[in-house]
Symmetry: C2
Subunit: 88 residues, 2 copies
């Protein structure tokens, strides 16, 4: 169905936007070498919550959900490592 | 079906974790009065992306998706206002 196609496109665009929202944060942190004001809890809870989303996506065989959450977790782990590094 | 019930619970817990991950960031910002290292783009892109998720949730009649994204947008708007306020 054409309608289903557009709903999937909407989901993919939405997921891509939310995932890529962490890119400017990584770029900003890399430029300024400061992530002191960013909360560890923000990144940790996002990683835990999105790990559950991945399980949800696997149960529902929804590859948009799996892909979006795997990518966002990777970006958040990068941010966590950067924050730890710049804190020293 | 029992299985459907647990999949929904999983989705709700996952959504609640991701949404509430912004609470520690708000609390940290409120305490330190500093959000300088947090990127405007992070919050803005999350708001735009999650607005699309709300449309997706409405089309799919999925109230977990709608509720989670509405709450996260509200928390991000609060963060945006705080960042603007503390920048002065």
């Amino acid at each position: 169905m054409i309608e289903d196609y557009w709903v999937s496109v909407l989901g993919i665009v939405a997921a891509a936007l939310v995932t890529s929202s962490f890119l400017p944060q990584i770029i900003r942190g890399y430029r300024t070498k400061k992530l002191g004001d960013v909360s560890y809890w923000l990144m940790t809870m996002i990683c835990v919550g999105m790990s559950l989303w991945i399980v949800y996506g696997m149960v529902k065989h929804d590859f948009v959900i799996i892909g979006a959450n795997v990518s966002t977790i990777i970006l958040n782990v990068v941010l966590l490592i950067m924050k730890r590094k710049y804190a020293n």
